[in-house]
């Protein structure tokens, strides 16, 4: 009950503050805030994907627009960016062989989007393109610009990433839990890349882009796994020797335990 009355209170206050006449004269004063309960997510040995929830607040909303449900929010979790090379196969003597390749300079390793409605319905293509928002509108910078080729290759790259689960978008997974509070749930795939991710929230009113807000999220390997990766990179020879020793030990133990003669 207390929660409900609180919502009412805020609604009334908002109505008082933004009377319709005011809203038409001024520029939209809406703002969007997002917060994560943690700024670091650790991936342990048993990580097989996870759902993370991002909470956000919409302030200064026009209650009329709000009642009509014409505020839309898109929340995106972008993975660390890296250069990437994409090979294309062609038939050579009946065999499929890599004959062509394209390098892209800044490609997010993962791109997980969620939205209040079907993402294409929120605004027009031009706006998505300007914001470089949504998997479709995402543009990768190539080493030598050739519009047609770039489109072909970047489309293919997006397709591959969608298939591996690193790129995804889910509509309806951003919900208003009260008039001003919303909750976005994002599905982290099992193969989510480690590194610095960026959570970004985009606010739209009647299909027009209003504001963006972002916050960082570090995804890292924790515990034994992380130690192992660091060790394998910094002391690769020792790591190799260790791998050999373990293998020999297991081979010998296997013989000792399972001997059949």
């Amino acid at each position: 009950m207390r929660g409900v009355s609180k919502v009412f209170a805020s609604l009334i206050m908002a109505t008082l503050y933004f009377s319709p006449a005011n809203a038409q004269q001024d520029l939209p004063a809406e703002a969007i805030q997002i917060g994560l309960s943690t700024d670091t997510i650790g991936i342990g040995a048993d990580f097989s994907g996870a759902d993370i929830t991002i909470f956000g607040a919409l302030t200064g909303a026009d209650p009329l627009v709000q009642r009509q449900g014409r505020y839309d929010i898109i929340v995106v979790l972008e993975g660390p960016e890296t250069p990437m090379i994409l090979h294309r196969k062609n038939r050579v003597l009946g065999m499929w062989m890599n004959t062509d390749s394209q390098r892209f300079e800044q490609v997010p390793l993962s791109y997980i989007a969620s939205s209040t409605r079907k993402i294409q319905d929120i605004t027009d293509k031009k706006t998505f393109k300007q914001l470089s928002l949504g998997i479709e509108a995402l543009a990768f910078e190539s080493s030598r610009y050739q519009a047609l080729r770039d489109t072909e290759f970047s489309e293919a790259l997006k397709q591959l990433n969608r298939k591996s689960g690193r790129y995804s978008d889910e509509s309806g997974s951003v919900e208003f839990i009260s008039a001003n509070l919303f909750r976005a749930s994002l599905k982290l795939p099992a193969n989510v890349p480690v590194g610095k991710h960026k959570a970004r929230a985009f606010l739209f009113r009647n299909g027009a882009f209003i504001k963006e807000n972002s916050t960082g999220l570090q995804i890292e390997k924790i515990g034994f796994e992380q130690q192992l990766v660091i060790f394998s990179q910094q002391h690769s020879a020792l790591y190799g020797l260790g791998a050999i020793t373990i293998a020999m030990l297991i081979g010998w133990l296997g013989r000792a335990i399972f001997r059949k003669d």
């Binding site: 890296t82 090979h87 890599n98």
Partner: protein, 310 residues
């Protein structure tokens, strides 16, 4: 139960890994091959990145081949002198192979080269062994029916036996030149570095058909030599490419060493030519599967390549 592979950066099912390890370990013990030529394609089919499948495959082969070697040490069916000479050639060859591996990877042709090499060698070795072992099986059957002793082929002398630098191999009862031994070692070392295998599936037939070693010491000697070649490959892969995933390797090994012991005792109960016919069929099957992969239209003509590292 899912388990996270830190180097491969993905989660996979633990029991699938144990099963792959056990199945390949069984075959490895039975036929005296390290099992890399099965592990590597199976891991790739299981969505492990090819480079990691190669590096980790080499690591796991150490365990299965050591475990198998211990059986043969007890049985005294290893020609250590032969094994060491093959190994010297093998180390030289696999160093050269690792350089070629890096070069092909840079060109983006590594996967294709690996597949073609597999198809060619598996096809050649498989057909040759199948042909020979069926011939012996048939000859033996005719001989038994006629109530005669099984046919024993006399040791045939070929041009290999005319080369200089001869050395005596008492366990193998051979007196041959070290030149073919070193060259076979080097050639197989080269191929195994590129293909990410110990090379047993080429080594075993090479010992039988080129060096004319007796079948009973072939398996043990091959396994003995494979321990060191795959250890060397593991070290190279770990230092140059960071492609050895110890967690993945341990899962495969645990299944593998258990399977290898059962495989070795199963192998003992079968006759040499039966064993060779079975291995030949297996080798041909893997070869055909890979040949199919070369010609069939892929799901996507696009693949994400590797950057940096090399």
């Amino acid at each position: 139960m899912e388990i996270y592979l830190p180097i491969a950066e993905l989660s996979v099912n633990l029991f699938t890994l144990l099963a792959i390890g056990a199945a390949v370990g069984f075959l490895s013990g039975m036929f005296g091959v390290g099992g890399g030529f099965l592990i590597t394609p199976l891991l790739i089919l299981y969505n492990i990145p090819p480079a990691i499948a190669v590096g980790t495959g080499a690591n796991q082969v150490i365990a299965t081949s050591l475990s198998g070697t211990l059986v043969h040490i007890k049985r005294r069916t290893i020609d250590f002198k032969m094994g060491l000479l093959l190994l010297i050639g093998g180390i030289a060859g696999s160093t050269l192979g690792a350089i070629t591996f890096a070069f092909l990877r840079k060109l983006g042709q590594l996967d294709l080269a690996i597949s073609i090499l597999y198809v060619v060698f598996l096809g050649m070795v498989g057909s040759l062994m199948l042909w020979e072992s069926i011939a012996v099986l048939l000859a033996n059957r005719i001989a038994t029916q006629a109530n005669l002793n099984p046919v024993r082929k006399p040791v045939q002398h070929n041009w290999i036996h005319k080369l200089p630098l001869k050395m005596r191999f008492s366990v193998s009862r051979l007196y041959i030149s070290v030149i073919p031994v070193l060259s076979i070692g080097a050639f197989i070392g080269f191929l195994s570095a590129i293909m990410g295998v110990g090379g047993g599936f080429i080594m075993v037939p090479a010992m039988i058909y080129i060096l004319k070693m007796p079948t009973n010491v072939v398996v043990g000697t091959s396994l003995f030599q494979i321990i060191f070649v795959s250890a060397y490959t593991t070290l190279i892969q770990a230092t140059a490419n960071n492609t050895v995933d110890v967690v993945l390797a341990v899962c495969l090994m645990v299944g593998g060493v258990a399977g290898a012991q059962y495989g070795a005792s199963a192998g003992q109960k079968m006759r040499g030519e039966q064993l060779r016919a079975l291995l030949a069929l297996l080798v041909l099957a893997v070869g055909l599967r890979l040949a199919y992969g070369l010609f069939v239209t892929p799901d996507s003509v696009y693949t994400i390549g590797t950057l940096g590292a090399l």
